[in-house]
Symmetry: C2
Subunit: 326 residues, 2 copies
């Protein structure tokens, strides 16, 4: 009886220490320290910089910040697989770009048409069905699709250190949002299970939808028409429209996140801006100023003056993917 | 000492009973019973219709459902007061409709130009400033403005029974959202303080905003261009875009809420649809099928077949406004 009591007492004293060691996959260093110190600053009730929980809004880019984006955005792989699945009903695609390129496994020629080609691919694969049908198609794909270079599931290529940041912030009363250039409805299929971010806290790009009654049952049909691009200067606009409150912490990895970082870190009081710099060609990819996907140039230049933390993936992260990404 | 102990024991036994009496401003009857029974059905863990907390999404229209909307939407009174405040800088308004009508206190002539006139008023008063400036203007107005017929503050004319529904649902693990045709940025100024609904859970109509750098400081500028009308068939679209999950409970009061009610109550499992029917000419207003503001016609016809609860304001609500609306 005494032993059990002693154990309980021991546990009570030891557990706060255990709980106080956050971000276990981060190596000790300036990046980890900056994140932990910021959280202490805004959450300790006797801190002059205390921020009430309702205002603890943190925003995260997705591609390249929470999961891998090389050699191309996962959403493009989804679209490519959908084009192939739909091809039997579209015999004309064999001779029409950008579809011809995809069916010939020649993505370069498919995308040679630039933004117009990309839009054709998106609309052919993301519109023309109900929202429920789209969700089911994405869920099926995520189950079976594998990354062309690593052979891992796409949702296995999320960054373990960033999952820990999400958990750590939520444990400290933050509300975590994804603010991504990716399609909002695609991300919502896995955001809750993989990131612990519910659908209502995902902000992204979107196409228009239309409410229809079909045999007395209401449906929402996805239309082949752009609604909103949540990228670059669109990110603060999307944050304002969706969240309606300026975040106090923002995490990104590319110039697509520049304005989100500027907006989030310019408010009064303590602010945290973090850039994930892809420096690890061995365990992931190394790229920045000259990359087509995830170009990081201007934001890297502004980081020192604006006090943003630049995470060196190679030295700051002890692991990249959870369980090796399986 | 014994007496105090007895009191504590008494309190322990009595308080669950007190806590279990929800919706105190609702008279006993079918409406109150339907709401309470629905909440039990989806929250009791041994219920075959149990719904996990993450899926307990409830949506509320604002004008006429959470606060009064007669003789005109509060937002119109805001716009009218702003036109008057801005008039000295716009001498040309004295001769131009719809501004002339407003300055002459002749709202009918101002609005004779229909939707085009309304849009001119909205854009002149809701655009051309930063989001921070707009928020400050609305906050100032809410402090001092009074309803032209009751003399009460507009935020005093919220419905006490509906505040209790919001609290009751949240106490039972629901996430409560406002989904209104009103301007999203105007509602967010008071939604948290008055309804307990944080800005990120407010969905509404919007104009476009633009990100700009001014002397190195980022701002969001409100543009005189429509972005989205969150009304009628737009409500399920707004819900999908913003929340990304189908609500299991919806509260409205007019045909503007018809599609939101259809969408929310057509999913699988138990669903709650509620219409606030304005039947109390003495304590509030009585109106439905023939009203310009808050017209309730088709939704009232569909209510019985779809199993929606129609609240009779006069007999179901013991009080209307909190503290008499002061």
């Amino acid at each position: 009886m005494f032993a059990r009591y002693a154990l309980i007492v021991l546990f009570l004293f030891v557990s706060p220490t255990l709980a106080a060691e956050p971000l276990p996959s981060w190596n000790d260093g300036a990046s980890k320290t900056a994140i932990v110190e910021f959280v202490k600053l805004v959450t300790e009730e006797d801190s002059p910089d205390y921020v009430p929980p309702a205002e603890r809004i943190a925003v995260f880019d997705n591609d390249g910040t929470l999961w891998a984006e090389k050699p191309a955005y996962s959403q493009l792989f989804y679209a490519v697989d959908r084009v192939k699945a739909l091809a039997p009903s579209h015999p004309e695609w064999k001779d029409q770009q950008p579809f011809k390129g995809i069916l010939d496994n020649d993505l370069e020629s498919a995308l040679a048409g630039g933004e117009e080609a990309l839009m054709k691919i998106i609309m052919a694969t993301h519109a023309g069905m109900t929202t429920d049908e789209f969700e089911a198609q994405v869920a099926d794909w995520l189950e079976t699709a594998r990354h062309p270079e690593t052979g891992k599931p796409f949702t296995g290529m999320v960054y373990q250190p960033m999952l820990e940041v999400l958990d750590y912030l939520r444990a400290n009363g933050f509300k975590t949002f994804i603010v991504s250039g990716g399609g909002v409805e695609l991300m919502r299929v896995f955001s809750e299970a993989v990131y612990g971010v519910p659908p209502e806290q995902v902000v992204g790009s979107s196409i228009k939808t239309e409410f229809q009654m079909r045999d007395g049952e209401p449906v929402l049909v996805k239309l082949p028409e752009l609604n909103f691009i949540d990228d670059k200067a669109g990110k603060p606009v999307g944050i304002n429209l969706h969240i309606g409150r300026r975040p106090i912490a923002a995490f990104g990895n590319s110039d697509g996140d520049l304005q989100m970082l500027q907006w989030s870190t310019s408010g009064e009081g303590p602010r945290l801006g973090v850039i994930v710099h892809h420096t690890d060609a061995e365990r992931e990819w190394a790229y920045d100023r000259k990359s087509h996907v995830g170009k990081l140039d201007q934001a890297l230049d502004e980081a020192p003056d604006r006090g943003w933390v630049v995470v060196d993936m190679k030295s700051d992260w002890e692991v990249i993917y959870p369980n090796g990404g399986q």
